[in-house]
Amino acid sequence: MSQPPRVGSPAPPLDLPTLDGGRVGLDGPRERPVIVSFLRHAG
């Protein structure tokens, strides 16, 4: 288990499928900042 990233550190990798059939990821240069929200359970 890693530690959560700190402010000022590089974001850990993220590359996942989405419910609408696409993918999201943080790899490579981006033009915009991104808010990443990890949810708890769907219940």
């Binding site: 402010v7 989405t18 943080l26 990443v36 990890f38 359970h41």
Partner: protein, 130 residues
Amino acid sequence: MHDRKDRIEELGADVVFVAFDEPDELRAKLVAGVDLAFPLAYDPARESYGRWGLQRSPWWKIWLDPGVWKAYARLLASGERLRGGGTDALQLGGDFVVAADGTVVYARPQERDDRPPVGELLRAVKELGS
């Protein structure tokens, strides 16, 4: 949610939600009848949760937290019905803002069942542009 989407788009940011339930479970419980404003990614293996350091809470931090019971009471009072606890009620989440260059500029991993106000996330995005 869509009002917030407009505000977030004004600020020039993207949003990604990540959930760990199976896609069918998410469709049935989380997004049924909801027009999703943002992409919802799924990670049943929870590898991304591990990479981002998001842990499972001790049970007592969730179930002995008065805030959790207050939240349930509010939901019931608003007419919501309680549903099953999903696959793992103890897995914690977290909220992060990542700048365009990949640097984390805001980090709020959950330590209990709480989330930051949306305004706090928007401030972190806004500060990137100032």
